[in-house]
Amino acid sequence: MAHPTVSEPSPAGAARRVLEIRRLGMLPFAQAHLLQEDLVTRRRAGEIPDQLLLLQHPHVITLGSGSHAEHVLADPGQRNALGIDLLEAGRGGDVTYHGPGQLVGYPILDLKPDRRDVHRYLRDLEEVLIRVLDGYGIESRRVEGMTGVWTDSGKVAAIGIRVSSGWITSHGFALNVGTDLSFFETIVPCGIAGSTVTSLEHLVGRPVPITEVAARTASAFANVFDRSVSEVGGEL
């Protein structure tokens, strides 16, 4: 007697789940945060399909739940002078910096029924970025115990996520494309002694349009998560 199981993969030919790509341009962190909260609620209620928000943030330092206040090196005066906000993020991980030239991706996914493993989810996000970097001829990898994407020249992407009730994800990844890396000196990025932060442009040695990286990220994301893309529009 064959009992169908809940986690059985969809039969061949069945439509893949839809992933809506929203390009939001330059969006302040606080606004993106509110938008995510709203989308999480709507995703949980099944009102919208899975989402991938692609955007950039104006200069901001955000604190994760694992943050130590002493990891923010810039004092309020320096932060003011540099125009950097400091905010609580509501995600896992330590302190990080976001700013222009950094591609931020916030997937709002329902991990049910077949992806209910947060470590697998983290590894999948890393996989997306490793593939994007590979497309630029950059060899990058995971380092055990240090979530994120690493190259020989340092960390190129940071990851910190939240899983809300019902296995709905928010927050996500930040890939340095043309980030002014000197801003990382205002914090102790969630790295380790002796390692540095780097960017895609730094690694390839030429300017790279962030819109191009966003497009490749969307398609790598759809492949890794086995979703079919639906463009909602917008510009980065």
Binding site: G64, S65, G66, H68, E70, H71, L73, G90, R91, G92, G93, R116, D117, V118, H119, R120, Y121, L122, V143, G145, M146, T147, W150, D152, S153, G154, I159, G160, I161, R162, V163, S164, S165, G166, V188, G191, I192, A193, G194, S195, T196
Partner: protein, 471 residues
């Protein structure tokens, strides 16, 4: 009543535990099914844990900041209770009543109890977790004396409170602990709670019986001891300067504290004659220079150690839980002074490298360490460490064993000393000037016995004093 358990959920195959980062609901709150009641965090992930069913949150068994294994019960929900939650106003006025310590105990709302008045012990149980009770017992602390002083829910004494209290005791002169909560004159019995420990909201839901409290594993205390480094704070005096520790300093501080906590350290010393090594360095200096190599004393030591570690697998090992992990590779960490700061780049598979190969690697790693250009892999995976406390002329040091390894070698200053030597032919003693140094081996006494440490040093002495010409 129907109590159901809320367990730490399985968030992923490789996730064994989670830390309670925030309680979104408190005891007495009504919760809807699927409504988030707490947040947990594991490295890069924050997750909300929803209520499995609707009801009243009647007990919280894990405090914020505590790390527990998957499956551990973190809370209980009474699914039958549908008790009205007090309105904001009532709660506020109740809170006000608690303020004046002199308020008559009789005026304080009593936790409802179906089985008569509670004993002192029962009340303490309600105000502390098993971990706290066990710790208190171990340290001879009367929990009753801390009642109501706790920072946990309803004045509950948390582990943190107790640790802090014990810390103060150690530093002395903080004043005697408050007297045990005795009943005010005229109070009918000591079992009535003193006003200061009254729950902050008059919870109507029946409380858990002590027997139902889930026991935390006895390893809980040690988990905290091994995993949380807290640097106590000290008052700043006039003229002082306060500087935030940078990344390297902070990580170093944490690692050093943990490493010292984890391994019982023993250090053994030996004096080694470097005449042979010094001679080899001088004789080959030109040849090595032409090869673009610089072979430092450290390289000689690393070469010798990497050969010896195969002879002494227990020194190239680490304690892991109840196991010993014998490392399959010989990866030598070399401490490099960054002034300020220190970093330990790793020579991987050092036992495969020649003396010159190690020499080149040492120069390269030290060079890039100073330029802050090491990749993460290059500072991970050491199975043994060499540090050179003698670099500025000091005799030798007592280095701390990096966690995850069994030993560290400290090398002293190499100096000319007058020593007594015996002529092998005639047996005649005479005085000679020799280059000598003292080495110290720090080792984890859980697995490396004193004799093993001594044998390792004796072999190292032999190898360095009779250093092969073809290394």
């Amino acid at each position: 009543m129907t109590r159901i358990e809320v367990a730490m959920p399985q968030m992923g195959e490789s996730i064994a535990e989670g830390t309670v980062s925030k309680w979104l609901k408190k005891v007495g709150d009504s919760v809807e099914r699927d409504e988030p009641i707490l947040e947990i965090s594991t490295d890069k992930v924050d997750a909300e844990i929803p209520a499995p069913q609707s009801g009243i949150l009647v007990e919280v068994s894990v405090q914020e900041g505590e790390t527990v294994e998957v499956g551990t019960v973190v809370a209980y929900i009474d699914t039958s209770a549908r008790v009205a939650v007090p309105a904001k106003g009532e709660e506020a006025s109740a809170a006000k009543q608690e303020q004046p310590r002199a308020a008559a105990p009789a005026a304080a709302p009593q936790p409802p109890s179906g089985d008569g008045e509670m004993t002192e012990e029962q009340r303490i149980r309600q105000r502390s977790t098993p971990v706290v009770r066990r710790m208190a017992e171990e340290h001879g602390v009367d929990l009753a004396s801390l009642e109501g002083k706790g920072s946990g829910h309803a004045g509950r004494v948390t582990k943190q409170d107790l640790l802090q209290y014990l810390g103060q005791e150690g530093e002395a002169s903080v004043g005697s602990p408050p007297p045990p909560a005795k009943a005010a004159p005229g109070a009918p019995s000591i079992s009535k709670p003193a006003p200061s420990i009254v729950p902050s909201s008059p919870v109507a839901a029946p409380r858990a019986s002590p027997a139902a409290s889930p026991a935390l594993p006895p390893s809980e205390f040690w988990k905290t001891f091994y995993s949380q480094v807290q640097n106590p704070e000290f008052p700043v005096r006039e003229g002082d300067e306060v500087v935030t520790m940078d990344k390297i300093r902070r990580l170093t501080a944490e690692h050093m504290t943990l490493a010292k906590r984890i391994a019982p350290h023993v250090h053994t010393f030996i004096e080694i004659d470097f005449t042979k090594v010094d001679g080899l360095r001088k004789a080959n200096a030109k040849k090595w220079q032409e090869q673009g190599a610089r072979v430092s004393f450290t390289a000689f030591v690393a070469w010798a150690v990497s050969r010896l570690l195969r002879e002494f697998p227990i020194v190239n090992a680490t304690v892991s839980g109840n196991n010993v992990i014998y490392r399959g590779h010989v990866n030598i960490g070399i401490a490099v002074d960054l002034d300020p700061g220190l970093i330990v780049p790793v020579i991987r598979d050092a036992d495969d490298l020649s003396l010159v190969g190690i020499g080149k690697k040492v120069v390269d790693l030290a060079d890039r360490a100073r330029k802050r250009a090491l990749s993460p892999e290059e500072i991970q995976g050491a199975t043994f460490t060499i540090t050179n406390p003698g670099v500025l002329g000091t005799l030798v040091g007592l280095p701390i064993i990096p966690k995850g390894t069994a030993a560290i070698l400290g090398t002293g200053a190499i100096e000319k000393r007058v020593v007594v030597v015996e002529d092998p032919a005639t047996g005649q003693d005479s005085m000679a000037i020799r280059k000598r140094t003292i080495f110290s081996l720090g080792y984890d006494h859980r697995i490396v016995d004193g004799a093993d440490g001594a044998r390792f040093l004796a072999r190292l002495k032999q190898l360095l004093e009779e250093f092969p010409d073809d290394a």
